[in-house]
Symmetry: C2
Subunit: 102 residues, 2 copies
Amino acid sequence: MPIIAKTPKPPYYAVIFTSLRTDGDHGYEQMAGRMLELASKQPGFLGLESAREELGITVSYWADLESIQKWKENAMHREAQKLGIEKWYSVFKTRIARVERD
Amino acid sequence: MPIIAKTPKPPYYAVIFTSLRTDGDHGYEQMAGRMLELASKQPGFLGLESAREELGITVSYWADLESIQKWKENAMHREAQKLGIEKWYSVFKTRIARVERD
């Protein structure tokens, strides 16, 4: 996967996920790798960019809102979301945005 | 500035700037600090989130497209953009997106 996502001509959608981690791994790295692999196989997935210092920012790009909704409801992803809330993130915010220009 | 931006109820706008740095500082850190200070004083500025590993992601939030356009055209910011292209970034991409939900 290219480090800067090769997205198509706008419009498309971005999910901006910003988070602070709790201390320790608790299975996070393994699950993050699995979720990236799984997300990249979903219909409408266009790419993903990620960086973490204290704050972590992950931006995933999608063709449309329907693709985002289906990924949100994916059973394995729902399990990961649950663990995220319980174990991995002390605070997080998800924003869904329509990319209009690049 | 809070590490996760305290943005208002959507809609508002996000500028997603992803970049790879060149080697060395070349005045980058100082300018980055100045630009953050300057941006935060602009009309319509709502907040900023930033992280860098190999890839850097900076997301700034704005009330509307007019605020983003004015910041883009700010004289000191234009100088920083020029240095960014010449010295600091080997590759970068800017996306402008309308945040619809959070």
